[in-house]
C-alpha cells in the first residue's frame, strides 16, 4: 500500500524553478551577445586610409579579449556566408541539369586552389569595393576564411541532395509541395547532419586561415586587422615570448569554448534529423542544449517568428511546384545543351588565353617550368610528411581507437589539436630553427606537419574504433598476435579511414606550405626552396603574374595528384576494404 509515493505538488514548483533558471541563463547570454556585437560593429566601421593604415597592432595584454572577440566575429560571419553559399550552390548544382555539368568541376578546382592564393588575388578587389573603411580588409579576411570552409560544406550538402532516400523524394512530389516548402521541409533537414559535421570540421580548419589572413602583406604594404593572429605576429616581431604564450593560452580557451557553447549543442540538436529508423548508439550530449531546451525563450521566439514563415511560404508559391516535367522535347533539349556547352567552352577558352597573355607579358611563360620544378620540392616535403606521420600516428591512433576508455578522453583532445591553428606556433619554431641551425628545407616539413598530421590521427582513431567487435573477438579467438594481427586485421580495417585522413592531411600540407616555407621571427627570416615560398614571396613583392603562375601550378599539382592517386586509392578502399556488408 505504501509502495506508491504520494503526489507532491512541490515537484511542480521545483520544475518551474529550474525552468526560470534556464530562462535567466538564456536571456542573460542573449543580452551579452547583443552588447558584444554592438561594440564590435563599432570597431569595424573605423575609417581607413590605404597608405597610413596600421601594419601592426599593439601587444598590450588588455587588448587581447577585444582582439579575440573580433577574430571570433570574423569566423562566425564567414561561417554564415559559407552556409548560405553552400545551400544555394549545392541546390543549383543538384536541381539544374545543365548547370551541374559546370558547377561541379568548378567546385572541384576551387577546392584544390590554395586558400591563401585566393587571398592574394582578391585583396585589391575588396579594397576597391570598400575604399574608406576597414570593411575592405575585414572582407578580405572573411573571404579567406570563407574559401577554407565553403567547398567542403557545399560538397556535403550536394551529396546529401543527390542521395536523398527515393521514397521521401516521391512522397514530396505526390504531396505537391512547392519548391520553397520542399527545400525547407525535405532538402535542408535531410542534409543537416552532413552540413553540421562538415561545418564543424571546416570551422576547425578555418582558424588557421584566420590567423594567416589577419596580417596581409600585399604589394609592399602590410595591413593588420585587430585580432588575435595579428597580436601574435606583432608579439613575435617584437620578440615578446611571454605575450605570445598568453595569446596561445587565450586561443586554446577560445577553441574549447566555441566547441562547448556552439558546436556540441548544434551536433546534439542535429540528431533529430537522422534518417535511419533507429537512433545512433552513441548519442552526443550537450549541457548547453539541455539548458536551452529547458528554457521557454526559444519556444516564445519561435511562436513570434511563425507568421513570418507563413508569409514567406505564400510569397514563394508562384515559383511553382517541386516537380520535373515528364515530357521533354528531346531535340530541343539537345539543341539547348549544345548551345550551352558552346557558350561555356568559348568563355573558358577566352579566359585561359587572356590569362596566358597576361602572364607572358608579366614574367614570360617560362616561369611555368620554374614553378613546376619548385613544386617538386614541396611535393617531396608532403610525401615525407605523410609517410612519417602515418608511421608515427597510425599505431597510436589504433591503440587509442581500440581502447574505448582512452578514446573517450583522447578524442576531444585530438579535436582541439586539429583545430588549433598551427601557424600560432610558427614563430616559436622559427626561433628553434634559428638556434639549432637546422635548415628550413627540413624544418619546413615539421612546420607543415604541425597542422596536417592531426587529420591522420583523427581519422585512424575513428577507423579503429569502428572495427566491429566480432572481428576483434574472432581475431582473439584465433590467437592472432603481433605482425600477423596487424597485417590481417588492423591495417585492412583502418585502411579506408587512413586514406580519408591522408587525403585531408595532404591538402592541408599543400595549403600550409604557403605560410610554412617563409617564416620569420624578429629579424630572422627563413626561406625554403619550394612552391609555397614562391607564391608567398611573389605576393609580398606585388608580382601579380608570378602569383598567378604559382597558384595555377599548385592547383594543377593538387588536382592531378587527386585524380591520379588519391581517387584510385579511395575507390580501392571502398571496394575491397570497406567494413560494410553487402
Amino acid at each position: 500500500m505504501t509502495l506508491l509515493r504520494p503526489y507532491s505538488p512541490d515537484g511542480a514548483v521545483v520544475r518551474l524553478r529550474s525552468r526560470y533558471v534556464a530562462d535567466a541563463f538564456v536571456l542573460v547570454a542573449v543580452a551579452v551577445l547583443f552588447w558584444l556585437l554592438l561594440r564590435l560593429a563599432h570597431g569595424i566601421g573605423a575609417p581607413f586610409n590605404r597608405v597610413s593604415a596600421p601594419s601592426t597592432v599593439s601587444t598590450d595584454p588588455t587588448n587581447l579579449p577585444y582582439y579575440a572577440a573580433r577574430s571570433l566575429l570574423r569566423m562566425f560571419v564567414a561561417l554564415a556566408v559559407s552556409s548560405a553559399f553552400s545551400l544555394a550552390y549545392a541546390t543549383a548544382a543538384a536541381r539544374l541539369r545543365r548547370a551541374e555539368k559546370v558547377l561541379l568541376p568548378v567546385l572541384d578546382v576551387l577546392q584544390s586552389v590554395p586558400v591563401l592564393g585566393f587571398l592574394a588575388v582578391t585583396l585589391s578587389l575588396w579594397l576597391t569595393l570598400f575604399p574608406h573603411t576597414m570593411l575592405g580588409v575585414e572582407a578580405a579576411s572573411v573571404f579567406a576564411i570563407f574559401t577554407s570552409q565553403a567547398w567542403n560544406m557545399t560538397f556535403a550538402f550536394y551529396h546529401s541532395l543527390i542521395t536523398q532516400p527515393r521514397e521521401l523524394d516521391e512522397a514530396a512530389r505526390m504531396l505537391r509541395m512547392t519548391k520553397w516548402q520542399r527545400f525547407w521541409k525535405l532538402d535542408v533537414p535531410s542534409g543537416m547532419i552532413p552540413l553540421v559535421w562538415n561545418g564543424m570540421m571546416s570551422f576547425g580548419g578555418g582558424w588557421f586561415f584566420l590567423i594567416a589572413s589577419e596580417v596581409i602583406s600585399v604589394n609592399r604594404h602590410t595591413y593588420a586587422l585587430p585580432g588575435i593572429g595579428s597580436y601574435v605576429a606583432a608579439a613575435s616581431q617584437q620578440r615578446e615570448l611571454g605575450r605570445m604564450g598568453l595569446a596561445i593560452a587565450v586561443m586554446v580557451v577560445m577553441v574549447i569554448a566555441v566547441n562547448v557553447v556552439f558546436w556540441r549543442p548544434l551536433v546534439a540538436w542535429a540528431e533529430r534529423f537522422r534518417v535511419e529508423q533507429s537512433a545512433a548508439a552513441d548519442v552526443p550530449h550537450s549541457v548547453v542544449l539541455n539548458v536551452l531546451r529547458r528554457s521557454s525563450v526559444p519556444a516564445l521566439v519561435g511562436r513570434a517568428v511563425r507568421p513570418v514563415g507563413g508569409s514567406l511560404d505564400r510569397l514563394a508559391r508562384p515559383f511553382g511546384l517541386a516537380e520535373y516535367p515528364l515530357r521533354i522535347e528531346a531535340r530541343r533539349r539537345r539543341a539547348a545543351d549544345v548551345g550551352f556547352a558552346a557558350v561555356v567552352a568559348t568563355l573558358l577558352a577566352w579566359g585561359v588565353v587572356r590569362m596566358l597573355i597576361y602572364i607572358d607579358r608579366g614574367t614570360g611563360l617560362g616561369e611555368f617550368g620554374h614553378a613546376f620544378a619548385l613544386g617538386l620540392a614541396t611535393f617531396g616535403r608532403v610525401v615525407v610528411l605523410l609517410v612519417v606521420s602515418s608511421l608515427v600516428w597510425a599505431p597510436i591512433g589504433v591503440w587509442i581507437g581500440m581502447n574505448p576508455r582512452v578514446s573517450r578522453y583522447a578524442q576531444p583532445v585530438v579535436q582541439v589539436l586539429a583545430s588549433f591553428p598551427a601557424n600560432f606556433l610558427f614563430p616559436l619554431f622559427t626561433l628553434l630553427l634559428v638556434h639549432t641551425g637546422v635548415s628550413i628545407n627540413l624544418g619546413g616539413i615539421v612546420l607543415m606537419s604541425l597542422g596536417a598530421q592531426w587529420y591522420v590521427l583523427f581519422n585512424v582513431i575513428a577507423g579503429a574504433s569502428a572495427i566491429p567487435t566480432d572481428l576483434r573477438e574472432a581475431g582473439a579467438n584465433l590467437r592472432l598476435r603481433g605482425l600477423l594481427r596487424w597485417r590481417r586485421l588492423v591495417l585492412p580495417a583502418i585502411f579506408p579511414a587512413w586514406v580519408t585522413g591522408a587525403i585531408t592531411a595532404a591538402g592541408g600540407a599543400w595549403n600550409a606550405s604557403i605560410v610554412a616555407e617563409v617564416v620569420s621571427y624578429g629579424h630572422h627570416t627563413l626561406v625554403a626552396t619550394g612552391l609555397g615560398a614562391y607564391i608567398a614571396q611573389s605576393t609580398t613583392s606585388g608580382n601579380f603574374p608570378r602569383t598567378l603562375v604559382g597558384v595555377a601550378v599548385m592547383s594543377v599539382y593538387v588536382v592531378g595528384l587527386n585524380r591520379l592517386f588519391w581517387r584510385r586509392l579511395y575507390r580501392l578502399a571502398e571496394k575491397r576494404y570497406s567494413l560494410q556488408q553487402g
Binding site: E167, E170, M174, L175, R176, A279, E323, P325, L326, R327
Partner: protein, 445 residues
C-alpha cells in the same frame, strides 16, 4: 468481351493507362524493357490489385499511374487529362512509410494540406480529424522514431487520405509489417472503404501476396515478367467481408498460383539462352530445403498450402519453385508441385553424388551455367574474367540484375564443383583444372 465488363466500362474512369511501355537505357545503349504495352483502367468504386513476381514491373506501373515516372511510349490520363508531372488527383502510401523523421505525426499529416495552401486553423482541424479516424488519437506530437511500424503506416494513410484524393495508390503497404499488424490494418482499411462518406473513389494496390489481393480487390491484374506485361485479369466477386476459409476463396488463390507459375502462351524461343531465360533467384540451400519438404509430403504438395505452412509469400516461394522447375527437380501443374525422379535421386544421394547430379542438371538446364562452362572449356587455360560474362549479360539486363545473375550462377557452379571463382582477381576457373592444380601443389605422399 462480356456484358459485365461492358457495364464496368460505363463507370467513369479515374486513371487510364493507355498502351504504356517503359524502357531504360542498358549499359551498351540498347534499351531494356520493363513494361511492354500495358493498358489498365482504374474506375470509380473499385479496388484493383496489381499482382506479380518481383521483376514484373508492377511498382513501375504504379509509379507511371502516380505520375512519378514518364512512360517511354503511351500515355497516362487522369480524368481525361494526360499527365505531365505528379498526378494531381491521387495520393500514395509507400512500403517504407516515407515519413519525414524530423516532423511530428501532426506535422507529417498536415504536409499535403500545407502544400495546397490550406490556412492554418483548418489544416489543424482536418489533420486532427484524419489522425482520429485512423486510430492514432493521442500520438499527434510523437515523432516517427517513437512509433512502431504499424503506427507509422497509419500515419502514412492519414497523410494520404487527409487531402481527400480521388484515388489511393498503395505500393506494398503491408509488406514491411508483421502478419498480425498487417491483418489489422487491412481490416481497418476495408472498414473505411465501406463507409459512405469515404471520399476516395478508387484504390490501386500493388502486392506480391496472393491472399491479400484476393482479400482486398475487386479485380486482380496479374503481371508477368521479362518484359512486364498483363498476363491475366481475374475478377473477384466475393461479397465483403471476405472469409479466408471459404472454398471460393481457396479456389481463387489456387487459380492465381496457376496463373503465376504457368508457362507463357506465346511461342517460346527455340533456343534458351542466358538472355532469354534468366536464372531464378534461388540458392542451392533453398532448393535443397524445398525438395526435402516436397519429399516429406510424399512427393506432392499444394503450393498455397506450402506457402502458408512456411509463412512464405509469392516472392519468397515462387523463385525457388521456378528454379526447381528449371533444373528438373520439380514439376508444377496448376497449383500442385510434384517431385521428379531426378529430384528424388538428388535428395536421397550422398554429398558427392548429389553434387554430381546437381552439376549435370545445372549444365543441362540452366542456360547461364551452361554458357559459362562451355566458354571456360573453350578458353585457352580454362580461366576467364567475370567481366566477359558481365558484358554478355548487360545486353539484356540492368546492371543490378546482371550482378544478381552472376552471383546465382557462381553459387550453383561452386556447389556443383563445376568452376571456381576468385573474388580478388574476378576470374572463373574451370574446376578440373583447379583440381589438377591443387593436386600438383600438394606434397607427394
Amino acid at each position: 468481351m462480356t456484358n459485365a465488363s461492358a457495364a464496368l466500362r460505363e463507370r467513369t474512369a479515374i486513371v487510364e493507362v493507355d498502351n504504356v511501355s517503359k524502357s531504360f537505357d542498358g549499359a551498351d545503349g540498347r534499351p531494356l524493357t520493363v513494361l511492354d504495352s500495358v493498358s489498365l483502367t482504374l474506375q470509380e468504386g473499385e479496388i484493383v490489385a496489381l499482382l506479380g513476381k518481383s521483376g514484373s514491373g508492377k511498382s513501375t506501373l504504379l509509379r507511371t499511374v502516380a505520375g512519378l515516372i514518364a512512360p517511354s511510349r503511351g500515355e497516362v490520363r487522369y480524368r481525361g487529362q494526360p499527365l505531365n508531372g505528379a498526378n494531381p488527383g491521387v495520393s500514395m502510401v509507400f512500403q517504407t512509410f516515407a515519413l519525414m523523421p524530423w516532423l511530428t505525426v501532426q506535422a507529417n499529416v498536415e504536409l499535403g494540406l500545407q502544400a495546397r495552401g490550406v490556412p492554418e486553423a483548418e489544416r489543424r482541424r482536418r489533420a486532427l480529424e484524419a489522425i482520429d479516424i485512423i486510430g492514432l488519437d493521442g500520438f499527434e506530437t510523437a515523432y516517427p522514431k517513437e512509433l512502431s511500424g504499424g503506427m507509422r503506416q497509419r500515419v502514412g494513410f492519414a497523410r494520404a487520405l487527409v487531402v481527400q484524393p480521388d484515388a489511393l495508390l498503395m505500393d506494398e503497404p503491408f509488406s514491411a509489417l508483421d502478419v498480425l499488424t498487417a491483418e489489422n490494418l487491412r481490416n481497418e482499411l476495408m472498414a473505411l472503404w465501406s463507409r459512405p462518406d469515404f471520399p476516395t473513389k478508387a484504390i490501386c494496390i500493388v502486392t506480391h501476396n496472393i491472399e491479400e489481393a484476393v482479400l482486398l480487390a475487386d479485380r486482380i491484374v496479374v503481371l508477368g515478367a521479362n518484359p512486364g506485361h498483363v498476363k491475366a485479369e481475374v475478377p473477384v466477386h466475393l461479397p465483403r467481408p471476405r472469409d479466408r476459409r471459404s472454398p471460393t476463396f481457396d479456389a481463387l488463390v489456387d487459380q492465381l498460383y496457376a496463373v503465376l507459375t504457368g508457362r507463357e502462351e506465346t511461342a517460346a524461343p527455340k533456343t534458351s539462352g542466358p538472355l532469354t531465360h534468366p536464372l531464378p533467384d534461388a540458392t542451392v540451400g533453398g532448393l535443397a530445403g524445398l525438395v526435402e519438404i516436397v519429399y516429406a509430403h510424399n512427393g506432392q504438395t499444394d503450393l498455397p498450402d506450402l506457402a502458408e505452412e512456411l509463412s512464405f509469400e509469392v516472392d519468397d516461394l515462387l523463385p525457388l519453385v521456378d528454379a526447381a522447375t528449371m533444373l528438373g527437380l520439380l514439376e508444377v501443374e496448376g497449383a500442385q508441385a510434384f517431385l521428379t525422379d531426378a529430384g528424388r535421386q538428388w535428395y536421397t544421394a550422398d554429398i558427392q553424388t548429389s553434387k554430381e547430379i546437381f552439376a549435370r542438371l545445372a549444365v543441362d538446364k540452366a542456360p547461364l551455367v551452361r554458357t559459362i562452362v562451355k566458354a571456360l572449356e573453350n578458353s585457352e587455360d580454362g580461366t576467364l574474367r567475370d567481366d566477359f560474362f558481365r558484358d554478355l549479360l548487360r545486353r539484356g539486363y540492368t546492371p543490378d540484375h546482371t550482378e544478381k545473375q552472376l552471383d546465382i550462377a557462381i553459387d550453383w557452379g561452386r556447389y556443383g564443383e563445376l568452376f571456381d571463382y576468385d573474388a580478388d582477381t574476378g576470374e572463373l576457373v574451370l574446376s578440373e583444372i583447379a583440381a589438377a592444380l591443387s593436386r600438383d601443389l600438394a606434397p607427394p605422399q
